[in-house]
């Protein structure tokens, strides 16, 4: 089943066209990786998927269907709630770990202390962070290490119960061990969520994703199962990129 469907999607920053006629459908409860060289439009595509692109002064043209309905027909708040995003740079709020996680739920009307506590604990557990921070939930989130901060951000994105989780190179600022932690977690998460991850790390895409999309200069060159893309790509350019000829 397809959660998101893109039909002939273009994206612009001002007059500059970034994406050209992207057609792809994103499968439910799977990990889809978007790969490609720097500046090919991977992040723009990702930001377009939950209308975050507008916050950065860009816009999209064409059609995005979310669960069969035009994305623009949803309230912006609703889209962001259902399609969460985690950015490249770990970005906790300057609050305690606990308050980082209750920030959005309280906004959405959850007042009950017990319920909030439960959300904090489950989401931290899902993100594999609970054991590390359970004794100082009320310490500042800024005191955590980079990898812990990023896992906190993933947990925070999950507190609003999204269906889709978008990740924009979530591991690029992290070391190998933290990266491994996050990859493991994402694999687990894919049972309940639909995940789209932008990465420039080919090995990572190969390790964790079910589907891979290869973008080059704003065009979708190839989109297939990860096994197919990495073992027998249709396009010469995909093959060259994967073999490390450019990018």
């Amino acid at each position: 089943m397809n959660v998101l469907e893109l039909n002939n999607l273009d994206a612009y920053y001002g007059d500059r066209k970034i994406l050209y006629g992207i057609n792809m459908s994103i499968k439910k409860n799977a990990i889809t990786a978007i790969i490609g060289p720097s500046g090919c439009g991977k992040s723009t595509l990702l930001l377009g998927l939950n209308s975050m692109l507008e916050e950065y002064g860009g816009r999209t043209e064409g059609q995005i269907l979310f669960k069969g309905k035009e994305l623009s027909s949803y309230q912006k708040e609703e889209i962001r709630r259902q399609i969460g995003i985690v950015f490249q740079k770990p970005s906790p709020f300057p609050l305690s770990i606990y308050k980082n996680l209750t920030y959005a739920p309280i906004y959405y009307g959850i007042k009950d202390k017990g319920k909030l506590k439960e959300i904090v604990e489950t989401k931290l557990n899902v993100a594999g962070l609970y054991e590390e921070v359970k004794h100082n939930l009320h310490a500042s989130a800024l005191k955590l290490s980079g990898g812990q901060q990023q896992r906190l951000c993933i947990a925070r994105a999950l507190t609003v119960e999204p269906e889709v989780l978008l990740l924009d190179e979530p591991c690029s600022a992290l070391d190998i061990k933290n990266t491994a932690n996050i990859e493991q977690m994402l694999k687990k998460l894919a049972q309940d969520y639909t995940i789209v991850i932008v990465t420039h790390n080919l090995a990572q895409a190969k390790r964790i994703s079910n589907y891979t999309a290869f973008l080059l200069d704003g065009q979708l060159i190839e989109y297939d199962t990860t096994a197919k893309v990495f073992s027998a790509p249709n396009d010469r350019r995909t093959k060259e990129y994967i073999e490390g000829i450019y990018g």
């Binding site: 995003i85 950015f87 970005s91 300057p94 959005a104 906004y107 507190t159």
Partner: protein, 287 residues
């Protein structure tokens, strides 16, 4: 050659820094010396706690308790009025108007700060004092309240610009991540931007308090200048306006003359103490 120039430049910069430090020391020493003559005649305790200011009588009647109270009262009213407006304005400029309109509005607000205080005094006298006379059934509109309101307008630009800087920064840093959760601007401003700006708000308060307590001209024109115990709707006197009013009349070298210096010295000490207290309070706010 460049090395020599570098060294020379370093020397000059150090000298200039030293010079500005010396200026401060000089100001303090000067005021202190001039008031020392006075404090040899009248004990400082009596000077501060006594309630009559009557320079024509004996030294016993030179004391400024009411005037210190007046200074603090007028300034506190100004802060109480200006702080909420300033914080609200800072938040609005940080979160709602964005880029160009924000800069334009801030430019206009900064112009407020460049209006000479005498002009504020005129406006206060013609508009504010009249308004109070007509609407609050006061015999004379000159009052603590009038001074407070006028000062509030005068310190507002300082509060806004000090707060706004840190609020804009906090807003820009956190808004994408907050928007990504579908959360409203309002909530972001309340839960993150405002708490993040606590230090800036405190700094703005200190700055505004300093400005308010030192302001002379505008305040002098609307408070009635009577050295009595200050009431909200009654006249009062502040230290700067006392000095400005009476310095010309006081005979050079007389006890009255030195008493005014002593009043100035007390004002400086009060401000110093307030600054120190807030400095330590500020340190305890963890961000």
């Amino acid at each position: 050659m460049y090395k020599l120039l570098d060294r020379l430049l370093a020397r000059v910069i150090k000298l200039l820094t030293l010079f500005s430090l010396l200026l401060l020391a000089f100001a303090i020493i000067f005021i202190f010396r001039e008031s020392l003559v006075f404090f040899q005649e009248v004990s400082i305790f009596k000077f501060i706690t006594g309630t009559t200011w009557n320079p024509l009588y004996s030294p016993d009647t030179l004391s400024i308790f009411n005037i210190i109270l007046g200074t603090l009262y007028v300034s506190l009213i100004a802060i109480v009025i200006a702080l909420p407006i300033g914080i609200g304005c800072g938040l609005l400029l940080a979160g709602y108007t964005g880029g160009r309109p924000s800069r334009l509005i801030r430019g206009i607000i900064d112009i407020l700060a460049s209006i000479p205080s005498v002009v504020y005094g005129f406006i206060g006298l013609l508009v504010l004092v009249k308004f109070l006379e007509n609407n609050l059934a006061m015999a004379a509109g000159e009052s603590v309240l009038a001074g407070g309101i006028l000062l509030a307008v005068m310190v507002l630009p300082y509060i806004i610009s000090t707060c706004n800087e840190s609020m804009t920064k906090a807003y820009q840093t956190h808004s994408p991540y907050s928007h990504a959760l579908g959360v409203s601007k309002n909530y972001l401003l309340r839960k993150i931007v405002f708490p993040e700006s606590k230090r800036a708000i405190l700094a703005a308060t200190v700055l505004a308090l300093g400005r308010a307590m030192g302001e002379t001209m505008a305040v002098m024109m609307v408070i009635g200048n009577a050295p009595i115990a200050p009431k909200l709707l009654g006249k009062c006197q502040t230290i700067p306006s006392l000095i400005a009013l009476e310095m010309g009349m006081a005979q050079v070298g007389s006890l009255h003359y030195h008493g005014l210096y002593a009043a100035g010295f007390v004002l400086m000490m009060v401000l110093l103490i307030i600054n120190l207290i807030l400095y330590f309070v500020r340190k305890t706010i963890v961000t």
